[in-house]
C-alpha cells in the first residue's frame, strides 16, 4: 500500500510543472492583449502599425531571453511608460472606467438591501389594517340593502 502511495505521489509531482517552468511559458498572444500600442491607442493585438511591429519584436526578444510575462510587462513599462499597460488611466474621462463599475455595484447593493428590508418587514407578520368599523345603524341599513338583491 505504501509503495502505491509513494508511486502516486511521485507521479503527481512529475505531472505538476514547477513554478519556474510555468513562469517561462510567456507567449506573445498572451501578452499582446494586455498591453497597448502607444501610438495607435489600441491593444497591441489589434495593431498592425510599424510601432506595434517593433513592440512585438521587443516582446519576442524578451521571451527568447527567458523572461516571464510579468517581467516582460515591466520591461515594456520601463521602455514605454505605464500607459503601455492596457488599463484605463486615473484622470479625465478614463477615471469613469474605474468609478462607474464601483458606483453600479454600490447602487445595486443598495437596491438589493432596500428590497430585502422591505420584504422582511412585510413578512414580519404585520397584520393588514383592520377594516373600518361601522355602527349598528349602518350595519342594519347594509343588511337591508343586501336583502334587496337575490344573491
Amino acid at each position: 500500500m505504501r509503495r502505491y502511495l509513494a508511486l502516486a505521489i511521485a507521479a503527481l509531482a512529475l505531472s505538476v510543472p514547477p513554478a519556474a517552468a510555468l513562469a517561462a511559458s510567456a507567449s506573445l498572444p498572451d501578452i499582446e492583449d494586455e498591453v497597448m500600442c502607444p501610438i495607435c491607442g489600441t491593444t497591441l493585438e489589434l495593431s498592425d502599425s510599424p510601432q506595434g511591429e517593433r513592440e512585438r519584436a521587443f516582446i519576442r526578444r524578451q521571451i527568447a531571453r527567458g523572461r516571464d510575462k510579468e517581467e516582460i510587462k515591466q520591461a515594456l513599462v520601463d521602455e514605454y511608460g505605464p500607459r503601455v499597460l492596457a488599463v484605463p488611466g486615473d484622470s479625465g474621462f478614463d477615471l469613469a472606467a474605474w468609478l462607474v463599475p464601483g458606483l453600479v455595484v454600490l447602487g445595486a447593493g443598495g437596491a438589493i438591501a432596500l428590497a430585502v428590508v422591505r420584504r422582511r418587514r412585510a413578512e414580519a407578520g404585520e397584520e393588514p389594517p383592520a377594516p373600518p368599523r361601522i355602527d349598528d345603524a349602518d350595519g342594519a341599513r347594509l343588511d337591508e340593502d343586501i336583502a334587496k338583491y337575490d344573491l
Binding site: P38, Y80, S91, G92, L95, A96
Partner: protein
C-alpha cells in the same frame, strides 16, 4: 422629487461632469510661431544622464522628433546629420528626441546613420506629442536662441527644406513671422 429620481439625477450629473472634465483636460492649445518651445527634462539616449532644450539656450536648435520604426525618419536622418555638421560651429545644433520607441531600437538607428548630434528619448511620447501638437512622425521645430519657436515643420525635412525654410531664418534672411 423622490429619492429614486434624485439618485438617478445625481448619477447622470456625475457622469456628465466626468465627461466634461475629460474633454476639457484633453484640449491642448495649438502651438504658434513665437510661442515658447515646450520643454521637459528627458533621459539621454546614450544613457548619460538627462537633458533638456534649456541646455542649448543661446543657440539655434532644430528639434527633430523621430522614432526608429518611422520610415520617413530614416529618409531624413542623413540630411539632418549633414545640416548639423555644416552649422555646429555657428551656434546651431540639432537635438533629436526619440519617442515611443525602445532604447535598443533607437540606439541601433543612431548607430546605423552615424548620428552625432545630441539625442534625448521619451519612451512614453504621449506628453511630448500633445505638447507640440504632433500629428505624426517625424516633425521638426526650429527654436531661436531665446527658446521661442521660429519654424514648425510637420513631416520630414530634406536638403531643400533645410536650405529654403530653416537656414534663411537662422541667417536672418527670413522673418519667422513671414512664413
Amino acid at each position: 422629487m423622490s429619492t429614486k429620481t434624485f439618485a438617478v439625477f445625481m448619477g447622470v450629473l456625475a457622469l456628465v461632469g466626468l465627461l466634461t472634465y475629460g474633454l476639457l483636460s484633453k484640449g491642448e492649445q495649438a502651438l504658434a510661431i513665437g510661442d515658447p518651445a515646450p520643454d521637459k527634462t528627458l533621459e539621454r539616449l546614450d544613457g548619460g544622464g538627462s537633458g533638456s532644450l534649456a541646455d542649448y539656450r543661446g543657440d539655434w536648435v532644430l528639434v527633430n522628433f523621430w522614432a526608429s520604426w518611422c520610415e520617413p525618419c530614416r529618409t531624413e536622418a542623413p540630411d539632418l546629420q549633414s545640416f548639423y555638421e555644416r552649422h555646429r560651429k555657428d551656434g546651431v545644433t540639432v537635438v533629436g528626441i526619440d519617442l515611443d520607441d525602445t532604447t535598443e531600437d533607437a540606439r541601433t538607428f543612431v548607430e546605423e546613420f552615424g548620428l552625432t548630434y545630441p539625442q534625448l528619448r521619451d519612451g512614453d511620447g504621449d506628453e511630448r506629442r500633445d505638447a507640440y501638437g504632433m500629428t505624426g512622425f517625424p516633425e521638426s521645430f526650429l527654436i531661436d536662441p531665446q527658446g521661442k519657436l521660429a519654424v514648425i515643420r510637420r513631416g520630414p525635412v530634406d536638403e531643400r527644406v533645410l536650405r529654403e525654410q530653416i537656414e534663411p531664418v537662422i541667417d536672418g534672411r527670413l522673418d519667422p513671422a513671414d512664413q
